[in-house]
């Protein structure tokens, strides 16, 4: 521990593997002070501007909002509220394109700015020492502060932990070319930043506080050294310029020599890192009761006449900033069909699909390069050629991965191999793509693969859940079946028991059963008699008659004969009717099918009339549902079978439509029966399907 501090005071640092030295291009904006802009006409505030979940909406369309008013609330600890950046009227809450490489839309609150910039009532805190840790964390959470370095992790979660903290590292490295937002903020607001750092110190009680600044920002270093000269525990560390020094794990390695293992967090090693801009936001939130409403954005690039840093209200559309910094419309359109606008720096940024996307809590730079400056941003096709296995990418990889192998596996979509190669440790810094002589956009391949792996994991989780639910359901159904059987058995037993009891009811029931049995017996005997009448001689009938106790002795034989004849006639008639019916049934169904549209019309009509008469609404609805069900049943039967039927329908003449439909219905019926039979078997036969 001591040695680390000694090394730092001597100005000796460790170094991380790899890294590159791209042209810095910071001179474009580092000399101009941060500009205050006029208010834009409209603000677009995406509900989610950070990692985690979006909060619950608190405003409606048409509401008048004041500057600093919370627009969403955060009940979930991972949710961070957003605030109105200026006063105005909520004109819409709708999906709009946000600053995301996909160019997809997300829910945004549109505020028509009234220009008065009226603040909500604030309570500036005068007595910081009496604030408890919980109060501080609540203030930070309510101010909607999320890490402003890029990832946007909710700050109140990061500062709320019970683990001992050795080092609080304030990240002012700002290693990406072009960007000078933190540099200027440090130069202009060093006192406030240090106040913010002291609040963090109060929360985290670290042994040492290290402020890391790259040696290409002499003014910022001087400003912070002056501001911290009276505090022993805060050390300003001037680290050598190298990209990506500002990466969390890389900076930890440089300052402390510790390597954060794959999959573990810096806090496990007793280290917390915060961005410079976050410290300033914490100061504002606690001292001035000002939520996170604005941030410094570097608007730069050679295509602009006045590249500079600006204080941009969150929600300001990018084109407003571009206009303020001298984007020359005419020139931009003339250059080619499009002008590249990059959100973020040249190494890690992404092209914007439109310039009306809003600035959010994590946007630190807008880059508008000229064509000479960055030709690749203007060409639609990539100049990628085959990998020549030079190995420069693995020399510069700050995470000590094997970019070349990752690239092959990413192209082959070999996701298990990518996970083995620790793709998840790739920080998307783009150093590999920067040095690649074959101009392979390596990081893009990794990003695609990362997204793919993430979705695969989601699917796996979902599949596991579905499996559990499926098995639970199976178990439940089985249990229900058993329970039902058990119930039936019990009910039967109860009935039997009731029967065998000697209560008058039971005896009554018994006698009733006995009577019924006797009746059945008698009927059987009679049937036998009539059967034999048809075949045997009258003498034998007489004999049988004599044997049966219930047969009517007085009935003449001729009468019996008549009865038999009548019965036979009835049976014949019945059979005839049956065959006729079976012939016509197909026809009936066919005509039903023809009626189908008319049924639909009826249904529609009933629906229409129902709207006129509310009292009949329910009835009409039911009628419509029934009609729909009927129509579906009819249309489904031939439809189901149409595939297997095709061969036969081909041979049959076209005009015989009715016959075809009838055939289809018959087949569908047959198939249904077959399927039912099959489903009773556990293993269906595949030949039949």
């Amino acid at each position: 521990m001591e040695s680390i501090i000694e090394r730092i005071t001597r100005g000796h640092f460790w170094t991380f593997h790899g890294g590159v030295h791209p042209p810095e291009q910071k001179k474009l904006t580092s000399a101009t002070p941060i500009k205050q802009l006029s208010l834009p006409k409209q603000l677009i505030l995406p509900l989610q501007q950070h990692i985690g979940r979006e909060g619950k909406l608190l405003v409606e369309v048409g509401d008048k909002v004041l500057k600093g008013q919370a627009l969403t609330s955060s009940e979930n600890p991972m949710a961070v509220p957003i605030h109105a950046s200026t006063s105005g009227i909520v004109s819409a809450i709708k999906n709009s394109i946000i600053a995301h490489p996909s160019g997809l839309q997300s829910l945004c609150i549109f505020i028509d700015v009234d220009g008065k910039d009226t603040w909500i009532e604030r309570e500036p805190c005068t007595d910081i020492d009496n604030l408890s840790q919980l109060d501080l964390i609540k203030k930070i959470a309510d101010a909607g502060i999320a890490g402003m370095g890029g990832a946007g992790f909710p700050t109140h979660i990061k500062v709320n932990n019970n683990e001992p903290v050795n080092f609080l590292i304030i990240n002012g490295a700002e290693c990406e070319p072009y960007i000078t937002a933190d540099d200027l903020l440090m130069q202009e607001q060093s006192e406030k930043i240090v106040s913010g750092i002291k609040l963090l110190e109060k929360l985290l009680t670290p042994s040492f506080i290290l402020i890391a600044i790259e040696d290409n920002k002499p003014n910022a270093i001087k400003a912070l050294q002056d501001a911290t000269s009276t505090f022993d525990r805060i050390k300003v560390c001037v680290v050598p310029t190298k990209y990506p020094t500002g990466g969390e794990k890389q900076l930890i390695k440089i300052l402390t020599g510790q390597e954060i293992k794959s999959g573990s967090l810096p806090i496990h090693a007793g280290i917390v890192m915060q961005n410079i801009a976050t410290c300033f936001a914490i100061y504002d939130a606690v001292f001035n009761d000002t939520p996170l409403l604005k941030r410094v954005v570097t608007v730069t690039g050679q295509a602009l006449t006045e590249p500079q840093n600006v204080w941009a209200l969150l929600g300001t559309p990018v084109n407003f900033l571009l206009n303020a910094c001298g984007a020359q419309r005419q020139q931009l359109t003339d250059q080619q069909n499009h002008q590249a606008v990059i959100m973020g720096g040249p190494m890690m940024g992404y092209s914007l699909s439109t310039d009306i996307v809003p600035i959010i809590k994590t946007s630190n730079c807008i880059l508008v390069p000229s064509k000479e400056e960055m030709p690749s941003a203007f060409s639609d096709k990539s100049n990628e050629v085959e990998c020549i296995r030079c190995g420069q990418c693995s020399d510069v990889c700050p995470s000590q991965l094997l970019p070349q192998e990752l690239q092959w596996s990413a192209k082959a979509k070999d996701y298990p191999q990518l996970e083995k190669l620790n793709l998840s440790d790739c920080i998307d810094c783009g150093a590999c793509a920067y040095v690649c002589p074959s101009q392979i956009p390596l990081v893009q391949y990794y990003r695609i693969a990362k997204a793919e792996i993430r979705t695969l994991h989601q699917f796996e989780v979902k599949a596991d859940k579905a499996k559990v639910r499926f098995e639970a359901r199976k178990l439940r159904l089985e249990k229900e079946k058993l329970a039902r059987e058990e119930k039936h058995k019990k009910a039967a037993a109860a009935r039997k028991a009731a029967m065998n009891k000697n209560t008058p009811e039971a005896t009554g029931a018994k006698s009733a059963v006995a009577a019924a049995l006797a009746r059945v017996k008698a009927k059987k005997a009679k049937d036998k008699l009539t059967d034999s009448v048809a075949e045997t001689q009258p003498e034998t009938t007489k004999e049988l008659k004599a044997k049966t106790p219930l047969s009517n002795q007085e009935t003449p034989i001729s009468d019996e004969k008549d009865q038999v004849k009548a019965a036979i006639a009835r049976a014949k008639a019945k059979r005839l009717a049956k065959t006729q019916a079976s012939q016509s049934s197909d026809k009936v169904i066919a005509t039903d099918l023809e009626e189908l549209p008319s049924i639909n019309e009826q249904a529609q009509a009933t629906i229409e009339t129902s709207s006129d008469k509310p009292q009949n609404d329910k009835k009409a609805k039911i009628a419509a549902a029934i009609a729909k069900a009927k129509a579906k049943k009819l249309s489904q039967a031939p439809h189901q079978k149409s595939n297997e039927n095709q061969q036969e329908t081909k041979t049959s003449p076209k005009d015989d439509k009715k016959a075809k439909i009838a055939l289809a219905i018959a087949k569908a019926k047959a198939k249904k029966q077959q399927q039912e039979q099959l489903s009773t078997l556990i293993k269906p036969e595949n030949e039949s399907t």
Partner: protein, 184 residues
């Protein structure tokens, strides 16, 4: 004499190892067929029954017994490839009888048309439909596997399968698809 000794020694070694193997086969016997579990893990668990089996596990069992490996429509080519790797057989194209569109979908109940018949609830293999008799039903979107089984039983055709909308959370990086708009 020597030859007899060799036979005796080798014979006794053979007997010893035979006994060991016999013991091991009883002592370390695996009850379930592990290949079925492995196959089941590869299947997408939509429980859709499009393969002709009542769920993913039964199909896994069938594949282990020699059924064709190309009947899982929701799994698509990837799953076929994985099964082929596991079973050591040739990769087959997906069965022609199945749809090829296997974008993730979920069922959606058009609620004003629902008559509350509970038929879809009985059909759902993962209990993802909420409702009661004569009450409107609805789909729990996070639990729905998009298996399609509830669509057919609906007597009023109020269930449809909808492709999940693309959001920032499930968006896939695709370089060729980033639209570039003219600034003016």
């Amino acid at each position: 004499m020597n030859i007899l000794l060799a036979i005796a020694v080798l014979g006794s070694i053979a007997a010893l190892f035979g006994a060991l193997l016999g013991f091991a086969s009883i002592r370390f016997k695996v009850d379930a067929d592990p290949i079925v579990e492995q196959l089941d893990a590869l299947l997408p668990q939509t429980q859709c029954g499009q393969c002709g089996y009542p769920g993913c596990k039964p199909y896994a069992q069938a594949v282990a017994d020699g059924e064709a490996i190309n009947k899982c429509a929701p799994g698509g080519e990837d799953t076929i490839k994985k099964i082929a790797d596991l079973m050591g057989v040739e990769v087959l194209p997906l069965d022609d009888n199945h749809e090829t569109d296997n974008r993730p979908k979920v069922a959606f109940i058009i609620e004003e048309d629902c008559i509350g018949c509970t038929k879809c609830i009985q059909a759902c293999p993962v209990d993802a439909i909420l409702g009661a008799a004569k009450q409107m039903h609805t789909i729990i979107i996070d639990e729905c596997t998009g298996c399609d089984l509830c669509v057919a039983p609906c007597p009023v055709d109020c269930i449809e399968m909808r492709v999940l909308p693309e959001t920032i959370q499930n968006w896939q990086w695709d370089l060729t698809n980033i639209p570039v708009k003219q600034l003016d």
